[in-house]
């Protein structure tokens, strides 16, 4: 903070000096014209002969000088500096938020691993440890997503918007997929924990000596956990959410590609689909007509 203030106090006189020098320069330049400087500075009248040719020059000079006069105001200088510093502040803030998010993520990860070490974890899928993924999502939602949704102007409007939409939906799909894969990993984690507890506690009269026996037991436990999780509302919700994210990404990707294809003069997917639909309907009509004709002919032969 101190560094920022000191930078500001050092730069302000420098800017004021540069503005004054620039104003003097343009004043000299204006004096080289036919009496424009005086008119410009005092706002006085100019002769009729010179006014026609000098009007644009005069107007530009007035505007320029007015702009620079405004710049020399102490409040404006401070505002300009604030403006200059704003992007770096935004970047800094974004980086801070990003690091904050990653730090949060790291903490979640550590907690998760600590939880793994203990064989007496919470049973059941109602205690899903999905905070890691939520933290990942939050980073995206709070930082990057906003950037992708910034409104665009002028010529870059449409293509840029589509690129951003595809990027965003790709990220959303990745996030959903990560959540889904994490859910698929949970039964592995739980079954290993159960096997670990068995190894630590023992309790069997004649424990098997063949590793394959333990593998078979683990597989059975794993299957049981999968069957439980596959029937849970949480799994079905995550599955449908992942599918929706995939569908959104597919559509966004198609839109982007269509844009590129249209630029190259190639038929887009939508155009081809419309054509396919027309062909489908035409073929169906032809088949129906052919059937009717066949029926008519066979009934005529019978009659």
């Amino acid at each position: 903070m101190d560094q920022e203030n000191s930078g500001q106090t050092a730069s302000e006189p420098l800017l004021a000096a540069w503005i004054k020098w620039t104003m003097d320069f343009w004043d000299t330049m204006a004096q080289m014209g036919p009496g424009l400087a005086a008119a410009g500075r005092s706002g006085g009248q100019v002769s009729r002969e010179t006014a026609g040719s000098a009007d644009p020059w005069l107007a530009a000079l007035n505007l320029w000088q007015a702009f620079f006069s405004l710049l020399t105001e102490p409040g404006t200088v401070a505002a300009v500096f604030r403006g200059i510093q704003a992007p770096s502040k935004i970047i800094l803030r974004m980086a801070q938020a990003g690091w904050g998010g990653y730090f949060h993520l790291h903490q979640q990860w550590l907690k998760s691993w600590q939880g793994d070490g203990s064989p007496s974890g919470e049973p059941g899928y109602e205690h899903l440890d999905q905070d890691i993924l939520k933290a990942c999502n939050e980073i995206f939602e709070h930082d990057f997503r906003r950037l992708l949704n910034l409104p665009h102007l002028c010529l870059t409007d449409l293509p840029q918007e589509r690129v951003n939409r595809a990027t965003e939906s790709f990220n959303q799909f990745q996030a959903a997929m990560a959540e889904f894969i994490y859910l698929l990993y949970l039964p592995v984690k739980k079954s290993l924990r159960a096997m670990g507890a068995e190894w630590v506690n023992g309790g069997e009269e004649n424990p098997p000596e063949d590793f394959k026996e333990y593998y078979k037991r683990w597989l059975k436990i794993l299957e049981g956990h999968y069957m439980t999780i596959f029937q849970s509302a949480e799994y079905i919700r995550t599955l449908t959410h992942t599918l929706h994210a995939l569908e959104d990404f597919t559509l966004a990707k198609q839109e982007l590609l269509s844009e590129a294809m249209a630029t190259l003069g190639l038929p887009t997917r939508r155009e081809m689909d419309e054509l396919y639909r027309e062909i489908y309907l035409l073929r169906k009509s032809v088949k129906q007509l052919a059937r009717k004709l066949d029926q008519r002919e066979s009934s005529r032969e019978e009659g």
Partner: protein
């Protein structure tokens, strides 16, 4: 108090011995993989006798025909029909030929984006009906025998209800008709799927997505144990060849036309309209009481994809008085590729058909 301890030293010693055996196995497996492997599927000779768009009809001629009525096999759209002719000795088609049946098999082909608008009506009242008419004309018979496999069985039931005059006998294998059951994971998941979004995004349902869904039904067995089993038997040439054939079939799922997917998921899986007598196809209501021909309904007790609850009610719902439910102690794919099905069930099917030749 002393608790029995896990004999870690013995386990490690056994693992070391296993590792040594695995090394020798790998050496033998290398020779097998470098040599010629017979992994083709669908090798029984056939004639292509009919084609309409992407749909083709294969005809398998028996050495000696004992059944007068030809048998048409209808597979679902999600997998290939080659399941029925996977390998010599494990082929439904071959066993049926040995039993003296003239066999026709529909190959639904590879739907492209231009097929996305094809509906269930187009498949059943269009392609299937045209094929049935073709076979009737070719053999000069008024009716054919129809056997449906998995969702192809559901299609066969719907077709038989709409065109009972063209079907002499109906056989369904692992065919779901009652979809509102919490027993099958697929039934549970599809209840919540927003099929409109899915079809609007993809056009056709991608085969890769169908494969992923099947694998998710039992990841420990289908993604782990199966491959560990392969590693254990990779020095056995027959095992390797059979394994690769099955892998080829499993991962060769075609895309499924979008509009058909929309209708199957909405009307069957979500609304369960078929058993309620509310399903409409091509402007006509599908009334199961119009299924008046003899019905043989075969399903697996341990089928995780199409549970018995989804199949067994059919016999009660149809109008036929000659119905039989056969529950086998097998899973879904096991019904078609198990040696018991080849040795016991197919001869039973042939005998059942022979007894109803009329």
């Amino acid at each position: 108090m002393d608790r029995p301890k896990i004999p870690v030293d013995l386990i490690l010693a056994k693992l070391a011995a296993d590792a040594e055996a695995a090394k020798h196995r790998l050496e033998r497996a290398r020779d097998i993989f470098h040599g010629p492997l017979a992994t083709n599927i669908g090798t029984t000779p056939y004639e292509l006798v009919y084609q309409e768009d992407r749909v083709r009809l294969k005809y398998y001629r028996p050495a000696a025909a004992r059944l007068k009525t030809p048998l048409l096999l209808v597979h679902g759209l999600c997998n290939r029909e080659t399941l029925l002719d996977l390998q010599p000795g494990r082929s439904v088609v071959q066993t049926l030929l040995k039993a003296g049946a003239e066999v026709y098999l529909i190959e639904w082909g590879n739907p492209s984006r231009r097929d996305q608008f094809l509906t269930l009506d187009d498949h059943l009242n269009g392609y299937l009906d045209d094929i049935v008419d073709f076979i009737r004309r070719r053999h000069g018979v008024p009716k054919v025998n129809l056997m449906g496999v998995c969702l192809g069985g559901t299609f066969a039931v719907i077709y038989a209800a709409l065109h009972p005059g063209k079907i002499r006998n109906l056989i369904t294998t692992a065919a779901p008709t009652h979809f509102n059951t919490p027993q099958g994971l697929l039934h549970l998941w599809l209840q919540k799927i927003d099929v409109d979004r899915l079809v609007n995004a993809f056009g056709n349902l991608p085969g890769s997505l169908v494969n992923a869904a099947f694998l998710l039904l039992n990841p420990p067995r289908l993604l782990l144990d199966k491959y560990l089993g392969f590693l254990e038997h990779m020095d056995n040439k027959d095992f390797v060849e059979n394994f690769i054939r099955m892998e080829k079939w499993i991962f060769d799922s075609p895309d499924v036309p979008g509009e058909t997917v929309r209708q199957v998921i909405k009307d069957l899986y979500q609304e369960n309209l078929l058993v309620q007598g509310k399903l409409r196809l091509g402007g006509r209501r599908v009334d199961l009481r119009r299924v008046t021909m003899p019905l043989l309904n075969i399903y697996g007790q341990y089928d995780h994809l199409v549970p018995p609850e989804a199949c067994e009610v059919l016999a009660e719902m149809v109008g036929s008085r000659d119905t039989e439910n056969v529950c086998l102690d097998m899973g879904h794919v096991g019904i078609y590729v198990s040696s018991r099905f080849q040795k016991e069930t197919i001869p039973k099917i042939a005998a059942w058909l022979l007894a109803r030749e009329g």
